[in-house]
């Protein structure tokens, strides 16, 4: 019979979120922290992201992915209070926080945690999710898989490449393939605007004269054994291919950079309610899920564009998980009652007009917390309102760039004035298009304004 091991805080995943959560948990006073990581080493996806641009917010430096990871890894490795299970696959998580995993030496491992931090990251959307017509040849890869082949294993997946989707990984790989001697024929994006960061359009595509086709998609994959080419077509405003616009591009490789999906199978096993918009758990300002004691952070919670914010979020989760673990030391019925009361009191925040999602989805009234949100489409200037209370103005917003707004005491005061007691109420966050004020704007901006 497998003996059940005990830990204060169990952290599932040793990528950027897991690393920062573990360090924060120890600083907050957790005596015993366990990281369960399925790879042979810590660092997660950062290890294959060899390009620079990480850490500008957090370290005021431009680091590569591995360098960013190494800002955390040694601290975790030398801490005797952090137990590392590498090459360990977590198979199950129960809502009572019993973790079942497979370890190469210990075999089946059972771990009972007082608090758990979910930090499993995300995975890529594949061809199967897109239903691209055509044959089923070799040579179709997700961009991240190609990144691993090129940067870690040392294999080039092809010589003539078309990339579907303009997500950041696809853009980074366009540059990487070009530097390694391949020809990137095109990047094809179904939306009328790029999905990745503007800087990556500039430094990965424009630098190497790689064409970006907007409002276009791959409509056929050609080739029997190996990809021989793709047909790309323009799409209308309902994303339907426009007949007659098809164009054949010869290539041996098609990369897909069409979105990331938080990897929440374990969360579902523990019956943790998920948000359909983010694909991750519904959480409060402490990143606690609706199951008390289980927290989530990083890309398993919502897909981030900057790792700096992942680390920040993981610290919130790691610290809060530790507070929970220590307060639960005398686990009893009273604690469960407290948990219920705490959850019932929280305000539920729904995404309103022009807002795709907002995180956290729940807030304890009065909490001074950062709200993270994405808009539904690019907009020139917006004003953000929480249930009618103005929070902030933002310019040049895009869905690819996550917005961050600090919720302050005066916002809560205004909310209470409007709504009275907030406990358990539902409020919505909206982004109103800001009317342009010609007198205060630069001439260029006025030209872009609608009459």
């Amino acid at each position: 019979m497998t003996k059940t091991r005990q830990t204060d805080v169990a952290i599932i995943g040793g990528g950027p979120a897991g690393l920062a959560a573990a360090i924060a948990a120890r600083k907050a006073g957790a005596k015993h922290v366990t990281i369960l990581e399925r790879s042979h080493e810590l660092g997660g996806i950062l290890q294959q992201c060899i390009h620079n641009g990480f850490g500008l917010h957090r370290f005021q430096e431009e680091l590569t992915g591995p360098e960013y990871a190494y800002r955390f890894i040694p601290e975790v490795q030398k801490d005797p209070g952090i137990e590392l299970y590498l090459n360990t696959m977590v198979l199950d998580l129960s809502s009572q926080q019993e973790i079942t995993a497979i370890h190469p030496d210990f075999g089946l491992v059972k771990l009972q945690a007082r608090a758990t931090v979910l930090a499993m990251g995300c995975r890529e959307r594949t061809r199967g999710a897109l239903s691209i017509p055509g044959t089923r040849p070799a040579g179709v890869f997700t961009a991240g898989t190609a990144q691993r082949f090129v940067n870690i294993d040392g294999y080039m997946p092809g010589k003539k490449v078309v990339i579907l989707g303009s997500g950041d990984i696809g853009l980074i790989m366009a540059r990487r393939f070009t530097l390694e001697g391949a020809k990137v024929e095109a990047v094809v994006e179904i939306m009328p605007y790029p999905a990745g960061l503007a800087r990556n359009i500039a430094q990965c595509l424009e630098d190497f004269d790689i064409p970006l086709y907007l409002s276009s998609t791959v409509t056929t994959i050609h080739g029997k054994d190996r990809v021989e080419g793709v047909t790309i077509s323009q799409v209308d405003d309902k994303w339907q291919p426009i007949p007659g616009t098809g164009r054949y591009i010869s290539c041996d490789t098609l990369l897909l950079s069409v979105g990331l999906i938080p990897e929440n199978e374990l969360s579902q096993a523990a019956n943790i309610p998920l948000d359909a918009k983010t694909g991750g758990a519904i959480v409060d300002e402490n990143r606690e899920t609706l199951i008390p004691g289980i927290f989530a952070c990083g890309n398993v919670l919502h897909v981030h564009d900057l790792v700096d914010y992942v680390s920040e979020e993981a610290e919130i989760a790691g610290e809060a998980a530790t507070r929970y673990a220590l307060s639960k030391a005398d686990a009893d019925a009273k604690a469960n009652e407290r948990d219920k009361g705490r959850k019932a009191q929280q305000v539920v925040i729904k995404p309103g007009e022009n807002v795709r999602y907002v995180l956290p989805q729940r807030l304890t009234p009065g909490a001074e917390a950062d709200l993270f949100l994405r808009v539904t489409q690019p907009m020139e200037a917006i004003t953000l309102y929480l249930d009618g209370v103005m929070l902030a103005r933002k310019r040049q917003v895009r869905p690819s760039e996550m917005l961050k707004i600090r919720l302050r005491p005066n916002h809560w005061e205004n909310l209470r004035q409007n709504r009275g007691d907030l406990d358990g109420k539902e409020i919505s966050l909206t982004a109103a298009l800001q009317p342009t004020q010609p007198t205060r704007l630069e001439p260029e901006t006025v030209r872009g304004a609608r009459p």
Partner: protein, 133 residues
């Protein structure tokens, strides 16, 4: 249908790559040779635009072969940005390089790349593979 951020001539529009904000910059060349730069939100944006017109530079990140390492490749980068025109030749130079594990983050992998005075450094630790059997 394609995006072309490079406007030839004296007036150029560009996206600042210094940080994820990605400011849209505009550079106008004055008759006196002075550059008029607009659109930046911080000092580094202004500096980026000036360099981009006068001497564009990029940090190169790539990999080199490792002998006896736990992995076959070591990620490396130039310690500072190098002239953009040297990217391809730098890749050729680094393609022939093979180094020995172990390596520590920050170790110099190749000194003075193409006489730029800039070193190529390791981006991560690479342990030596332990000999089994």
């Amino acid at each position: 249908m394609t995006i072309d951020g490079k406007t030839k001539g004296n007036n150029r529009k560009m996206t600042c790559i210094t940080c994820p904000t990605g400011c849209q910059l505009e550079v106008r060349g004055g008759a006196d040779g002075e550059l008029e730069i607009t659109g930046f939100q911080c000092r580094r944006g202004e500096e980026y635009a000036r360099n981009e017109v006068l001497n564009p530079k990029r940090v190169l990140t790539t990999t080199v072969k490792v002998r006896n390492g736990v992995l076959p490749l070591l990620p490396v980068r130039t310690a500072k940005a190098i002239p953009k025109g040297l990217l391809e030749r730098s890749m050729d130079t680094l393609a022939d390089l093979e180094i020995q594990a172990p390596v520590r983050t920050g170790d110099v992998i190749l000194a003075n790349l193409l006489d730029t005075g800039i070193d190529v450094i390791a981006s991560r630790d690479m342990e030596k593979v332990s000999n089994v059997g």
